[in-house]
């Protein structure tokens, strides 16, 4: 039963077995190889891969267990996807407390990577909203983990990369909303300084903020981009012409990327062209509007399997966080990328603010985060990311494991000095390609 499970970046490619966990009271399969839970495989690198080992696939653990309409507390199995939660919760007047830029992640994966979203400066990571979960260890023990019980395993499992055992179900609190619509503003900015002042001005009044940066721009355009900010619409803001409390969703126009584009399709020129068009999509400096939550939070989900844009060789993501009090660090990173000529197709910038994450290995911390993706071009791409790591290490920042496929062991241990303390909570029969790579 070897399989073709890959991660979203489709690099690296590994050989592994897989077995589905269909019911939450099932025991773990017998196997003489190492185990790793695997949800929807949306992490980019190898945290969801287990070369020569076995994946425990959890999409079959997709049942809801209980929901309290008064408090918004939802308990469900760990393979339930965020898309399924939204379909369930939004018509009932509730929303995810935190969501990453895709809704095709499972609850288990969201905990294991302690995901963050556009509201990080207000709400913190997903882990912060977890009330409890059940952890199945390979010795057969089932542990109820919460801030009050099995506390160490609770904080180790949040951002624990699936290494501490299998989460069978979890309970967390949703956030109330009045309507599925969002009130949004898109603002052009000219440079990094302007980004920081927009952030400072917006983080108080806007629940959701993030920016897209034109990574191909150089010189006086360096660091230009679009700043997106928004809030769930308030009750009194709902236009009177919308007479139903929750408008029916517009017919979904999800398209699937039908083929792998040839590997040369994304090159410096096409990426530059895309970035220029994207920056100039609005002729006004500020555009305001009302929009459905779906395109606001999940613009890329409208093209299913968009990773095929990068062809069969795959791509590398790089997401770092660096201190936000010295703006020169982000500028240095952006100019290093611009000079390399390996411009990133999509680059996202967000101010994390001061909110602390609670997982032992959580990535978000005080600072500003930049996420980039690069077509896989072998040595040149690796060399650029190595240069970026040098800047991030120097700045005492960190890189996000969930996006990574190439971090050196030295960099990882610098970013996460607590890795050794964490490792005592790893289940002895669990491991991942990522973990073996960064701790060797």
């Amino acid at each position: 039963m070897s399989n073709n499970y890959t991660s979203w970046g489709r690099f690296p490619k590994v050989t592994q077995q897989s077995t589905p966990i269909s019911w939450r009271n099932n025991s773990l399969p017998y196997s003489d190889t190492l185990l790793l839970p695997h949800g929807l495989g949306r992490s980019y690198g190898d945290v969801c891969l287990n070369d020569q080992g076995m994946l425990l696939t959890t999409r079959t653990l997709n049942r809801f267990i209980s929901f309290d309409e008064q408090t918004g507390v939802l308990r469900c199995e760990s393979g339930v996807s965020f898309a399924e939660i939204l379909d369930f919760a939004v018509p009932r007047g509730w929303f995810l407390p935190v969501t990453p830029g895709t809704k095709f992640v499972t609850v288990g994966g969201a905990i294991a990577n302690d995901v963050h979203g556009k509201n990080h400066h207000k709400a913190g990571t997903f882990g912060k909203h977890i009330r409890c979960f059940e952890l199945l260890r390979s010795d057969g023990e089932r542990l109820l983990c919460s801030p009050d019980s099995n506390t160490e395993l609770f904080t180790a499992t949040i951002a624990g990369l699936g290494l501490t055992g299998l989460i069978t179900w979890a309970e967390f609190t949703l956030r109330p909303i009045h309507h599925r619509a969002m009130k949004t503003e898109n603002i052009q900015f000219e440079n990094v300084e302007e980004f920081f002042s927009l952030s400072a001005e917006s983080d108080q009044d806007y629940e959701y903020t993030m920016s897209w940066v034109d990574c191909s721009a150089k010189g006086s355009h360096l660091g230009r981009g679009l700043f997106f900010r928004g809030n769930h619409i308030e009750k009194e803001e709902i236009p009177e012409t919308w007479n139903t409390p929750f408008l029916q969703k517009l017919p979904a126009i999800a398209r699937t990327m039908p083929i792998n584009l040839p590997n040369f399709a994304l090159n410096a020129k096409t990426v530059q062209l895309f970035n220029q068009l994207y920056y100039n999509q609005q002729s006004e400096k500020v555009v305001t509007g009302l929009t459905d939550y779906d395109p606001f939070f999940y613009p890329l989900d409208a093209i299913l399997e968009w990773n095929r844009l990068y062809g069969t060789r795959g791509f590398l993501q790089y997401q770092c966080v660096v201190p936000n009090d010295d703006h020169r660090i982000i500028t240095e990173i952006l100019s290093t990328i611009a000079e390399s000529g390996l411009s990133s197709f999509l680059a996202v910038l967000k101010n994390f603010g001061d909110v602390e994450a609670m997982g032992m290995l959580s990535f978000p911390r005080k600072g500003v985060t930049l996420a980039l993706d690069f077509p896989m071009k072998g040595a040149a791409t690796f060399a650029l990311l190595e240069r970026l790591d040098a800047i991030v290490r120097e700045a005492q920042g960190a890189v996000y494991p969930c996006k990574d496929a190439r971090l050196s062991s030295q960099s990882f241990k610098t970013y996460y000095p607590q890795w050794e303390a964490f490792s005592q909570y790893i289940d002895p029969r669990f491991s991942s390609s990522f973990w073996r790579r960064v701790t060797r």
Partner: protein, 245 residues
């Protein structure tokens, strides 16, 4: 609101289909072997919006209980208009070639149990003169192949039985839907290497749901299997017998 009996309710395809019914606020009666699984599923379906969910655990190989299943479901749902039969096993072809009892067991579970279940069900729906029956057969029943012809025999027999039943019940306004899935990624097929032809249980469930809604007679799921099976059925026997399929 439909009143639906689902037999083999904990199979992956039936679970996904039940969810679609629940989201339409239908009332459901689930039958499967394991009570704990049925309870977990019922919880989920109630939250998904089902008007009512009840369940009972039965071993479907004990045919003498089949009439009881029908009467319990009818009482619980206060009537019955839709039935989905989704149980089955993927038997060990090689073992069945060696030992008749293995083959017989597979034919009992995959074919004879369907006949036994559908006999009282068909009579009840025929009498009330409305209703819908959907049964999961398989593309494997369209032509015997060396790799799984015992399973294929049972599924082929199910398809022929349903075709006759459809003919008989048409005047009584009862629709009979033959569902022919291709490769589906479920726990039953966990041991197989997956490729481009594989579908998810959710895709197949959507096809079953629409087939019932549109009162279709037979659906291949996903629909491209119709073309594949047309080609496979058209290969002359003198060629087919030399193929490794």
């Amino acid at each position: 609101m439909r009143k639906i009996l689902i037999i083999g309710a904990s199979s992956a395809i039936a679970q996904a289909t039940a969810r679609l019914f629940a989201q339409q606020k239908d009332a459901l009666f689930l039958v499967g072997r394991n009570e704990e699984k049925l309870a977990q599923q019922a919880e989920d379906l109630r939250l998904q919006g089902a008007h009512k969910v009840d369940y009972a655990a039965f071993d479907l190989n004990e045919f003498e209980h089949h009439p009881t299943i029908l009467s319990q479901a009818t009482v619980s749902l206060n009537g019955l208009d839709t039935v989905l039969i989704a149980h089955g096993v993927l038997d060990d072809q090689k073992a069945g070639e060696q030992e008749y009892v293995v083959a017989e067991e597979a034919l009992r579970t995959n074919f004879l149990s369907v006949v036994s279940l559908l006999t009282p069900i068909a009579n009840q729906l025929e009498q009330q003169r409305y209703g819908s029956i959907a049964v999961i057969s398989s593309v494997a029943g369209d032509r015997g192949r060396q790799s799984n012809y015992i399973y294929g025999t049972a599924k082929g027999a199910v398809s022929i039985f349903l075709s006759g039943l459809r003919n008989r019940l048409a005047p009584a306004n009862v629709n009979v839907l033959t569902v022919k899935p291709g490769f589906v990624d479920t726990p039953m097929t966990a041991e197989f290497k997956k490729g481009a032809l594989w579908a998810s249980p959710e895709q197949v469930a959507t096809g079953i749901y629409q087939g019932i809604e549109k009162e279709k007679s037979c659906v291949y799921l996903p629909s491209f299997w119709w073309l594949i099976m047309l080609i496979i059925r058209s290969i002359p026997e003198f060629v087919f017998k030399r193929l490794k399929l």
